[in-house]
């Protein structure tokens, strides 16, 4: 747990503080979208396509409609004519996506018909009575096949399955490859997994006919959600009111739910009744459209005898499934840290986003960075192995040094600050690295498979949109603001208001801590609310590890305005110049004669009631908003694709000790240490919690979780019986070692941490597994490194005569 007092010298920031949110959750008083019960509410169940690719010949729904309690049956033809297609993140306007398929189905599980009934059970009964006649069509599951000319097309109108392709060359890459002493090439594969929150998607819509406003309660985490929803419904933005005060039961990127919400919105307006859709787990896994990156990396690296890396080339082919959304942009974020934490002067990056007949991909924690970190760290370990050099020595040689910050990488982004060597050393010390090496070697002598993995990875944070114009020149978005409103009421109580939903990040705690810090008032008395979208200031939602930076900065900015106003009121009433007064604990006093003062209550009373005592040009009432653009944001990419991507760069190093049971292939993570530097931590317990959770996600992605598809295009892991989420027995005890290199760009020196743990975890686990496999002359560069995959490799290696890995 966090220290009682702030290690940074702040009053509240960094000190142990219970969260605002936890009490309602431990007492069963959270309010999630599924808890919203509206009078006369109707329920939706879905008829999904059993085919990965087919033409819908006919839909027969008379029998379903005749079932008592069934209110409506909606098919794609009606819906697609009445709403606009969902937003596509890249320039692919003909890749149209609607909540229900119309004409063609493009993946097994795609929604075809929505049945509305008085209860969910009746709706599900009616689903069984609907007959859809399909004409099966050829399908694709292999992304490499899909990218080839002449492949079966997922969207024939688009003319190709490729959504995005570009080769970026930053620096003298070819020259570096020519001149380097060594070159290596290998393929790494990141399997399709996702963060899979325990709450599925839920959306409730109600048409307020009197005011002509559509009210929405949905489990979402998404930038520009209300605007996109209004556009798709052909409504004005001010006709949609998204209630951000519902608790979201986990997201970690995936809770976009636009198609879910569009569907219930249309139905609520059509039927003039509140409509709820609550995904069951099967619907969520196959048709929730929340699968994560599914990537093939072809890595090439050029380096010298001494271990200095001169250049690398990263080719990334990402299978986004049947529709686009924002998923192709997950190849974009890695541009922000394309050389990792290393001094690599020349980089080539060739991302390709391709469609197949699979469940669509959505944003997943890290937005494509964790797979890239995994591929980069596998590269680093292979270089070390090739040179016979210690992996830590190789990293230390190539890591950017503390004194080199701010450090500009070849792709145009400047890293704000860092002290990678120190964090690495602290983590190694905490892990007793030498002791681990002895333990590993003893285990090996005893005939066991044991390995140590170390990763050094970056977490780009402060979520910006730079990949949008980078990947789509028609999109000139350079604004990616967030905001906060702080209000002091007549009785002197402070309220912070923000405008997005929360899914466990602790935004109420964040805002109250920051506002308390600035106003020098106890955060426990500061109320924080999430306004609805018609009442809220602009937000780009908690994506890209941005809220400590962006909402924290906005809350501080608003609170400072309040403090400035109180200072002016105090100075005016004390008859002093502004320079002669001091603010402390909410009071304003004469700096030279502190007994001459106005208390908080007096100042507030003047602001609210006593206009005659107000200084000129100050608004009465006491509230202030602060909207700020993401630091370093606001510029478009250059022609050659150089761009300042994210503002802040957190660093993490993971040290993992693994032993693999050679007979079952089961890996056990016996020691796990994370060294973490995300600058100033506003609430250390929250940061640590996210980091532990990120590691758990990393353990899942690295070892267990996969949305596997059969050759026939069927999802094989659509339940928790076969999509394996790590339990408390698979996730090891984790030790976190903190370090603080403040960011020069943020209000208190904070950086982002929402993706911590996940960004370095799979990389380190892969390095540990490969260290364990090395003595038997085999290797793996594919996630998940399942028991079966490891068992197969071990078996094959043992069947062969002994030889050292040539890679």
């Amino acid at each position: 747990m966090a220290e009682k007092t702030s290690p940074y010298g702040f009053r509240y920031i960094g000190a142990k503080r219970r969260t605002k949110e936890d009490p309602r959750f431990v007492t069963g008083r959270g309010r999630y979208a599924a808890d919203i019960q509206l009078p006369g509410m109707l329920h939706v169940a879905i008829v999904a396509s059993p085919y990965p690719s087919a033409r819908i010949r006919s839909i027969e729904s008379a029998e379903a409609l005749a079932l008592p309690g069934v209110r409506y049956v909606l098919a794609g033809a009606e819906l697609c004519a009445a709403v606009d297609a969902l937003y596509v993140g890249v320039d692919a306007p003909k890749v149209k996506r609607y909540p229900l398929a119309d004409g063609l189905v493009r993946y097994a599980g795609e929604w075809v018909v929505a049945v509305v009934a008085e209860t969910r059970a009746i709706a599900e009964d009616a689903v069984e009575l609907i007959e859809v006649d399909y004409e099966p069509l050829p399908h694709l599951v292999d992304p490499e096949e899909a990218a080839k000319p002449g492949a079966v097309l997922v969207h024939p109108e688009h003319g190709t399955n490729v959504l995005y392709h570009r080769k970026f060359v930053w620096g003298a890459v070819d020259e570096a490859f020519e001149k380097a002493d060594h070159r290596l090439a290998f393929r790494a594969r990141w399997g399709r997994s996702a963060t899979v929150p325990i709450e599925t998607f839920v959306a409730v819509a109600q048409w307020d006919a009197g005011n002509e406003i559509l009210d929405i309660w949905a489990s979402i985490q998404m930038p520009k959600f209300p605007d996109q929803l209004a556009r798709a419904l052909r409504l004005t933005g001010n006709s949609v009111r998204v209630h951000f005060d519902v608790d979201v039961g986990g997201s970690y990127g995936v809770k976009r739910g636009m198609k879910h919400t569009l569907l219930v919105s249309y139905l609520a307006m059509k039927l003039r009744a509140p409509v709820r859709f609550l995904e069951d787990r099967l619907e969520n896994m196959r048709g929730g459209d929340m699968h994560g990156p599914d990537r093939i990396f072809d890595m090439q690296v050029a380096f010298d005898h001494d271990g200095i890396i001169r250049a690398w080339k990263i080719k990334a082919l990402d299978d986004v499934g049947a529709y686009a959304g924002r998923s192709p942009l997950q190849l974009g974020k890695p541009v922000s840290a394309i050389c990792g934490p290393y001094r690599i002067p020349a980089v080539e990056y060739e991302p390709t986003s391709v469609m197949t007949h699979k469940t669509p991909q959505e944003a997943v924690r890290g937005f494509g960075q964790s797979p890239t970190n995994f591929a980069m760290e596998c590269t680093i370990d292979r270089v070390a192995r090739h040179l016979g050099m210690d992996r830590l020595e190789l990293r230390r040689k190539n890591l950017i040094r503390k004194e080199e910050f701010p450090y500009r990488i070849p792709s145009g982004t400047t890293y704000d600050s860092g002290d990678y060597h120190t964090v690495l050393d602290k983590a190694l010390k905490a892990a007793d690295y030498e002791g681990l090496v002895r333990r590993r070697d003893e285990a090996r002598r005893a005939g066991r498979l044991a390995g140590i993995g170390v990763s050094t990875c970056l977490e780009p944070s402060g979520g910006n949109s730079s990949f949008e114009p980078l990947f789509n020149p028609k999109n000139e978005t350079t604004t990616w603001m967030d905001s906060c409103l702080v209000r002091v009421d007549l009785n002197g109580a402070v309220t912070g208001v923000f405008g997005t939903s929360s899914s466990g990040q602790g935004h109420q705690t964040l805002v109250s801590t920051v506002v308390g810090e600035v106003l020098e008032r106890d955060p426990s008395g500061i109320r924080v609310i999430a306004a609805d979208s018609l009442n809220a200031l602009p937000s780009n939602s908690p994506v890209g590890s941005r809220m400590a930076i962006m909402l924290g900065g906005a809350a501080a900015g608003a609170a400072r305005k309040i403090r400035d106003t109180l200072l002016k009121i105090g100075a005016h009433n004390l008859g002093l110049p502004l320079s002669g007064v001091t603010y402390r604990d909410g009071d304003v006093f004469d700096t030279l004669h502190p007994e001459k003062r106005m208390t908080w209550d007096q100042l507030v009373e003047v602001a609210h009631r006593k206009f005659h005592k107000m200084p000129p040009d100050i608004e009465p009432g006491l509230q202030a908003k602060f909207v700020w653009e993401v630091p370093t944001g606001g510029t478009l990419p250059t022609e050659d694709g150089q761009v300042q991507m994210y503002p802040c760069y957190s660093f993490e190093t993971h040290v993992v000790y693994v032993e693999i049971d050679p007979d079952t292939g089961k890996p056990v993570l016996q020691r796990y240490v994370v060294g973490h530097d995300c600058g100033v931590m506003i609430n250390p317990d929250i940061v640590h919690g996210m980091t532990y959770g990120g590691v758990a996600h990393g353990v899942g992605a690295a070892l267990y979780e996969k949305f596997a598809f059969s050759e026939e295009g069927q999802l094989l892991s659509g339940t928790f019986m076969d999509y394996l989420i790590p339990s408390a027995l698979e996730v090891p005890e984790i030790s976190i070692v903190d370090h603080c290199t403040p960011s020069p760009l943020t209000t208190f020196g904070q950086k982002g941490s929402g993706e911590a743990g996940y960004l370095g975890g799979p990389a380190a686990i892969a390095c540990a597994i490969n260290d364990a496999l090395d003595p038997i002359g085999t290797a793996i560069a594919e996630t998940p490194m399942s028991h079966l995959a490891l068992w197969s490799l071990i078996r094959a290696a043992r069947a062969k005569p002994k030889m050292k890995d040539a890679a």
Binding site: T27, L67, I198, G689, Y692, A696, H697, V731
Partner: protein
């Protein structure tokens, strides 16, 4: 519609409920939709995630895998019933707040039910025993660590006799 219904008498958090329920109504839907006790959550509806855990006659069970009619004549405690008689948080609930043993809160009721039951039979569990007890409850936020910390803290506080708050 003429759905088959059955009469049940189920005691939930000390309150007896006598009513007619559709025979096919799951226990979790009965708790959430009929009684409006929405603290119990639904995560997978196939018995893996544990979010719907409730205490049935003293033992944790999956309320998604039971029908309401199967609970006829039984006594159930949900997360809403874990607080002290005066409505204040139990030691365990308070300890979850102290260690931040949750984030989004969705799995939390199940975790509380599982660990409340654990502490009843094993007042001083090791970290391994706690992990074992919550191994049937999936959490995607915490990596379980601060949950284990919370349960250990609660056990220490009860043992020290200062837990009754």
């Amino acid at each position: 519609m003429n759905e088959p219904k059955s009469s049940v008498c189920i005691t939930v958090n000390g309150v007896e409920h006598r009513c007619e329920v559709p025979t096919r109504l799951s226990l979790v839907d009965f708790l959430r939709e009929t009684l409006r006790l929405t603290g119990t959550h639904v995560g997978c509806e196939h018995g893996i995630c544990g979010a719907c855990s409730v205490i049935l006659d003293g033992d944790p069970v999956r309320s998604c895998l039971m029908f309401a009619v199967q609970a006829d004549g039984h006594s159930i405690t949900t997360v809403e019933g874990l607080a002290n008689a005066d409505g204040s948080m139990s030691v365990l609930q308070d300890s979850f707040c102290e260690t931040h043993g949750l984030q989004c809160g969705y799995c939390t009721p199940g975790m509380l039910v599982a660990t409340h039951s654990l502490l009843k039979t094993n007042p001083n569990p090791s970290a391994g025993e706690i992990r074992d007890a919550i191994s049937g409850n999936l959490c995607r936020c915490t990596g379980y660590q601060q949950i284990v910390d919370a349960v250990q803290l609660a056990a220490r506080r009860v043992a020290a006799g200062n837990g009754n708050r």
